[in-house]
């Protein structure tokens, strides 16, 4: 690989930044561009719950200091939205009508929060926690010891729940089939884990369907939730946690095979010679299971970034999962997901 290479990475998360690091190590003279829709440099979303217990701003969440990008000549194009990838011309288009050519492209655009269709109409009344700005908003509107209703309850939500309880907030979990996502749990495990959550202080509501979410009356709690069994709840914040969907709409029409995510072989190459994928956006071929599957969590995703970068620069390394994917209860009777581990 020579110095005339332009590596373009779509996505500014763990996989993209790990790849950028290894690309720079292995091809010092190349151009490296990270494209992201966000306005910030790479920060740790896992750390965002810190907003509830200490005075900090986004600079405290940066994984790398500003100088890192200057010193490593990694150009991070923020607030830039990819609309289309032309694999034949090795060009991608940005929403502001600028075309960028690449030698090799890594798609590491991650996942976007999934919201079931029946909740779509209530979206303006729901708060996310996937971005710094969204997390700040929750912090700002949530009163001390306020009440949070979590819908779904994927592991990202459960991570937040345990932090909120630690800080004295009330958390109510309304379960769904996505509770504990992406862990696969059987019914016995589900009962056990829900019990542990209750012991941790989470109020758990099962087997209900949401009929209505409304703005609370003036002077009352901000949100009012009605269930199909007639029960109603008042809360300060309602947050959906139904797992992630691969965020790669811009790859439609690129000619690259796409199922639920971008399909990649075990060396993380897509069906196009010059396009690779890593992180939550891709489904990796599993010879053992004879199917494509997703792998989640900081450690897995980070490893994917490294493998992609190595293979983009001439190696032929194959994927092996880095994390035990089992949810478990530790000796302190706390529910623990390996997906919560991060650097």
């Amino acid at each position: 690989m020579g110095s005339n290479q332009h590596y373009v990475i779509i996505g500014n998360g763990v996989a993209g930044n790990e790849a950028a690091y290894f690309l720079r190590q292995r091809d010092p003279e190349s151009r490296i561009t990270i494209i992201t829709a966000g306005r910030l440099l790479f920060y740790s979303r896992y750390e965002l719950p810190r907003l509830f217990h200490e005075s900090c701003d986004w600079r405290d969440f940066l994984v790398n200091p500003v100088e890192y990008y200057v010193n490593n000549r990694i150009n991070v194009r923020r607030n830039s939205f990819v609309t289309h990838v032309d694999a034949q011309r090795r060009t991608l288009s940005l929403a502001h009508k600028e075309d960028i050519t690449y030698s090799q492209l890594l798609v590491a655009s991650g996942g976007a929060s999934y919201l079931p269709a029946e909740l779509d109409e209530f979206a303006p009344l729901l708060n996310g926690f996937n971005l710094y700005s969204a997390a700040c908003k929750v912090r700002d509107i949530l009163p001390k010891q306020g009440k949070v209703v979590m819908l779904g309850g994927d592991v990202l939500g459960l991570d937040l729940a345990r932090n909120l309880i630690r800080e004295g907030y009330q958390v109510i979990l309304v379960t769904s089939e996505h509770t504990f996502w992406p862990h696969r749990v059987d019914s016995a495990e589900r009962t056990l884990f829900l019990g542990t959550l209750r012991e941790m202080g989470v109020e758990v509501i099962e087997d209900v369907r949401i009929e209505q979410i409304e703005q609370g009356a003036p002077g009352m709690s901000a949100r009012h939730i009605l269930f199909d069994n007639g029960r109603e709840l008042f809360a300060d914040v309602v947050m959906p946690f139904f797992g992630l969907l691969p965020a790669a709409d811009f790859m439609m029409g690129s000619g690259v095979d796409f199922e639920r995510g971008l399909l990649v072989s075990t060396n993380l190459r897509t069906t196009d010679q010059n396009i690779w994928a890593a992180g939550d956006v891709c489904q990796i071929w599993s010879p053992e299971e004879n199917q494509y599957r997703f792998y989640y969590g900081w450690k897995n995703v980070k490893k994917m970034g490294e493998i992609a970068a190595r293979n983009m620069t001439g190696d032929d390394i194959h994927w092996e999962t880095a994390t035990d994917q089992k949810l478990f209860i530790d000796k302190h009777k706390q529910l623990v997901s390996p997906y919560w581990e991060h650097d």
Partner: protein, 597 residues
Amino acid sequence: MKETDIQLMFCGSAGDGTIAVGDIFKRAMARAGYKVIAFDIYPPEIRGFGKCISRVRVTSRQAYSLKHASDVLVSLNDSYAIPHVSEVRDFGSVIYDNAPITSMAEGEHISGHLLPGQLPYGLRMREISDQTTGGSKSKNIVALGYLAGLFGISREPFHLIIKDKFKTKDQSISESNLLAFDTAYTEGASTFRLDFIEWGAPERQEIGGKVQMMTGNAAVVRGCLDAGIDCFFGYPITPATSIMERLATELPRRGGRLLQTEDEISAIAATIGAGYTGVRAATATSGPGLALMVEMLGLGVIAEVPSVIFCSQRGGPSTGMPTKTEQSDLHLAVYGGAGDAQRIVLAPTNVEGAYRCAGKAFEMAEKYQTPVIVLLDLYLSNRYETVVLPRQNPFEADSSKHRSNVERGVPYQRFALTEDNISPRTVPGEEGGVHVITGLEHNELGRPNDQSEMHNRMSEKRHKKLLAALDHPGITIHKRFGDTGQVDVGILGWGSTIGEILEAMLMAQAEGIRCSVMKVVMLSPLPNEPIRAFFSDCREVLIPELNYEGQFANLVAAAVPKPFTRLNRVPGVPMQVADILEQIRCLAERTKSSSAA
């Protein structure tokens, strides 16, 4: 109270309304009660769409100069703004159009050039302008509205200024621009802010005058008018033209006269001619114009005729850099011309100083019967500042005060050798005041006389009479700032560079360096004694100025036989505070080393 110190930079092409939006912004901020310093850079070409930059520093307390790094860059044209991205500080903001109408090649959009520490704010500038005004011309107003909304600045002062800006146009234009502003304001207000730019309230304090925002040239005009100028003769030249343009509007309203002459030679000739008749007259030019005027200036000196010449310096020589600033006409102003033609030269250091020097120049010209040159430069001429002008007119309005009655029965000696070297002056038409006036050396009656003794005495008279100007009341001839008594580093400066020098001094003091600044406003005759005293107080002296060889330093070297360090720059733009600060640090270090040795 939270303090405000924010600098914005609007960058675009001449057709984008860049200077206009900067103007609205600074006027709105001044109206809101903030202190403002602003400076616009525009292209030298009269036609075309060159680069325009408007920099505005908004503070709650008075600042002395623009900052090197801006807090916010607003790009109205990416190709012009991209080279200036590095002038935005870390964690500062860049606002740009993220929905342009045309496709672009890689690297042509500003988002690809932002430094990692800078924060991007994309805005649908053109789209919002199209939706609200039916065209893209109000992109600048959209950017302004977004900016105001983003930082939570009250929209009221903006509304007032926008209405005022469009008051001569159809009402629908004003209304659509207000709609564009408000639409973008809402978008800005709903944008999640990531920067750390804080707008505090303006500092309200009782002051003894009226707060206004104006440029150096506007202040010159105000000074001229308050001093009772009767006539102005000029020929247009950048960056002095706006003096004539403003006077062309104002002077006739007050019964004065303004004539655009065929060239600079005619302008100075008419000015001296008018001064000879006893009225207050002035002209304004730049270096190339002053070069043409110096022969006639000699006439003014030898004939002892009051006249005022405003010279706004620009990059030279010759046509040079008409839209860039420089301080390189000092030698020309002080020495230019044939013979020993000493005259008074004043160099204001800020906008308020431009007002005072302009008004006082007329008094001095009359009192000391000489041409007075007021040296500005492009940076000061075009720079906006909020200033407090006195409620009471500080200038002598009576132009006849320094004239004398003719003594009956004795021949009138227009150039009589007196104790204070100032002769009785009459104006044409005064009974008994008939005299000869010429460019030839003369005797006391004004009749030609080239005898060596007479030339000696007249030369001495013409020089010595000016020394009294060093004590002229109501004007700062020189002033010291900063630490008093003995200091490690003294910085001696003149003209518009004083602002940067003062900022550097404050930074150096904050670093623990004992330092002091002396500004010199009167450059001819030079206040030698105070400068020598300043040298005695300073272990090291630095003289920063915007010319290649150090023209002021040359004057000082002739007056003070002591070593000093020159800092000469000719970048065409104001001197960098960091540059001066670096030199101060070096000199402070040197004093430590010499102490240790």
